[in-house]
């Protein structure tokens, strides 16, 4: 079974994000880059499936040159190969462009199944898994927190609110976006880190994937025009006095200041 895992390199969740001076993105100087946490669930899902059913796990990542570090992390966890789309022509892709590139890799590699994170935690678009499935004309299940497969059928569970789970049977090949609870991602052990150094990494250009003009900033239908910090929230106000007086004051404030009543 050829298992594809899509992952994205994102700023560490503890990084303090600051917009760049020219508003074109974020200050990347001091950022520690990590594999998007939901994508780690996808890597683990891929590795577990390989352990059960055999085959190979191929991680695919689109981004600048540093994205190789994120792929190496997955290789150190146990993935077999990586495909890096760090060509200049891919940079600035919107979710549609990214999905076109990833879907083209999936076709070229002949993946039988694809796992990805439910969303990358940088821009939180939550679009790529669904668009890729659409482009490939495969079924997909999003926000999967339980996965079992038997032959060509996978049975997955996904949270649907109210503490309830939806059980979905999906025919493979299919795309699954993974969420918390699916598994406990393994860490990269020292032997794994060592082995990752010699695992193959392939690179494709847009031309290799016959995607000239369909990916990158020039093809983006969604354009990010500026970045700015959200306005600082005003601090809360504590009401004092007897409870009855506090209630009266609260109602007055909601009516006159907040104007919500």
């Amino acid at each position: 079974m050829k298992i594809g895992v899509f992952l994205k390199q994102v700023p560490d969740t503890e990084t303090k994000i600051r917009p760049a001076g020219d508003g074109s993105g974020i200050e990347s100087g001091d950022v520690k880059w990590i594999v998007s946490p939901y994508d780690e669930f996808a890597v683990e899902a891929g590795l577990q499936l390989k352990e059960k059913s055999g085959g190979e796990v191929v991680v695919v990542s689109l981004g600048p040159a540093r994205t190789l570090d994120a792929a190496r992390t997955a290789l150190a966890m146990g993935a077999d190969r990586a495909v890096i789309l760090d060509d200049e022509g891919f940079q600035g892709s919107d979710p549609l462009g990214t999905s076109r590139a990833l879907a083209a890799v999936a076709r070229k590699e002949g993946f039988d199944i694809i796992f990805c994170g439910r969303q990358a935690i940088d821009e939180d678009n939550n679009q790529v898994p669904q668009i890729v499935a659409g482009l490939l004309d495969w079924p997909h299940a999003s926000w999967v927190n339980s996965f079992e497969s038997e032959g060509e059928m996978a049975t997955v569970k996904r949270p649907i609110g109210g503490g309830k789970l939806e059980v979905v049977k999906v025919r493979l090949p299919a795309v699954f976006s993974c969420t918390k609870g699916l598994n406990e991602p393994r860490y990269a052990s020292l032997p794994g880190i060592m082995k990752a150094k010699s695992k193959p990494v392939a690179r494709y250009t847009p031309a290799d994937l016959e995607l000239d003009g369909q990916v990158g900033a020039s093809a983006a239908v969604v354009q990010l025009t500026s970045y700015q910090m959200p306005q600082a929230r005003p601090s809360g106000r504590m009401l004092e006095g007897e409870v009855g007086d506090q209630v009266k004051e609260l109602v007055r404030l909601l009516r006159q200041e907040a104007k919500v009543l």
């Binding site: 020292l190 880190i193 060592m194």
Partner: protein
């Protein structure tokens, strides 16, 4: 362009592996603290979880079950563990003994021990110090007498850390006595030998010494009376063990320095957290006062200087640079790291005020651990002697 102060991506992954292997223990912090700091027992499941990362295989090539990432990787891992309050002397000693076996042992010996050391299945301690020999290894009296295909070892070792939980001990012995060397006009470095000995072998008696300062461990007086050891457990040649011994002390110092860096960072983290939360006058946290913040900033600056010294020493060892250079770098790192550790704990205690002495915060326990590092595995003064003599070219003082 060859100088690069960034850690490699693989080193960042090692730090990550250490953090993640400890995650399952997050709910057991109090129990672990009680066990390690108060009862002086390092839980076996914690040891197993650490070794499952492959950390102990760093100094061991793949051929012998390790991963060959090198001493720098091992040092970074040990620092990351100590940074979270999980320093362990047997990690240091097992890695040091593995490096010694790798460089000096027979093929048979490497096959026999290294894979089990790499996996963490076998812990090693180091039997070196004697009641009358330590800093001066030439005064070693423990004697290994040839008896057919075996050796019979008798003597006494003291302050042997973790001898009760170690599966083997790398033991410094004499195969020719000091007196015989003197009579025959042989150099004083002649006559030393290293053996691998099972601390539970017949003829060995372990007596705990009530010492403080080594977290999760007890130190022992090891009494040996005609302990039978096969010649195949002799590391290197008889009488020729001095170089192997001295070269093995370098990784011990480097890893001790890495532990000290981690310990310093651990105490700094505790102090900074407290200083950010604790308010005494008005609503401002005490960290706003420069009397609190400046000493912590100094510790932070010195921490980076010590890390760089430590990484340089480990790098030099991995590059197989000449032992004199590695020794000089190791000594410098270990000196500065132990001085910093004492300062870091001291400043943490001062920041925490009365809580600096509370068992709940635990900082006071680390004072002993940090202070011990100024004395062992080599004292600060002996390092200054070494640097003065070998680096500066000043006359020998002793």
């Amino acid at each position: 362009m060859s100088l690069n102060f960034n850690l490699g991506e693989e080193h960042v992954l090692i730090q990550d592996a250490m953090a993640k292997c400890l995650e399952p223990f997050r709910g057991r912090q109090e129990e672990l603290k009680q066990s390690i700091l108060v009862e002086r027992k390092f839980p076996q499941d914690l040891w197993d979880a650490i070794c499952a990362t492959g950390l102990m295989g760093a100094v061991i090539p793949e051929k012998y079950g390790g991963n060959g990432m090198g001493l720098l990787s091992c040092a970074i891992g040990i620092e990351a563990l100590a940074e979270r309050g999980f320093g362990n002397a047997l990690l240091v000693l097992t890695a040091m003994d593995a490096a010694c076996i790798l460089r000096n042992g027979t093929e048979e010996m490497k096959q026999k021990y290294l894979p089990k050391m790499a996996s963490g299945e076998m812990k090693f301690c180091f039997g070196h110090t004697e009641p009358d020999a330590g800093s001066n290894a030439f005064r070693t009296r423990t004697f290994a007498k040839k008896d057919g295909d075996d050796y019979l070892i008798s003597g006494q070792k003291t302050f042997i850390t973790g001898a009760d939980v170690a599966d083997r001990m790398l033991l410094t012995c004499r195969t020719t006595s000091r007196e015989a060397c003197a009579e025959q006009g042989l150099p004083k470095a002649f006559g030393l030998a290293l053996f691998i000995v099972d601390p539970k072998a017949p003829g060995i008696e372990l007596r705990p010494i009530p010492t403080r300062g080594i977290e999760g461990m007890t130190q022992f007086l090891v009494h040996m009376d005609n302990v039978r050891v096969p010649a195949s457990d002799l590391v290197g040649e008889p009488d020729m063990g001095a170089m192997a011994l001295f070269n093995s002390l370098n990784p011990e110092r480097i890893l001790a320095a890495a532990s000290a860096c981690g310990l310093s960072k651990h105490c700094l983290d505790i102090a900074v957290k407290y200083a950010n939360e604790r308010a005494v006058f008005k609503e401002r946290p005490i960290g706003a006062y420069q009397a609190i913040s400046h000493p912590l900033a100094q510790v932070r600056i010195e921490l980076d200087s010590v890390r760089l010294l430590t990484h340089r020493a480990a790098w030099a060892f991995d590059q197989d640079m000449n032992p004199g250079t590695v020794g000089n770098y190791s000594n410098m790192a270990k000196y500065q790291a132990s001085e910093l550790a004492v300062k870091a704990v001291d400043r943490a205690i001062q920041t925490l005020g009365g809580y600096g002495f509370s068992e709940e915060y635990g900082v006071i326990y680390y004072y002993e651990a940090a202070r011990l590092l100024r004395t062992a595995p080599i004292s600060s003064e002996m390092i200054l002697n070494f640097v003065a003599e070998h680096d500066l070219g000043l006359p020998r003082s002793y």
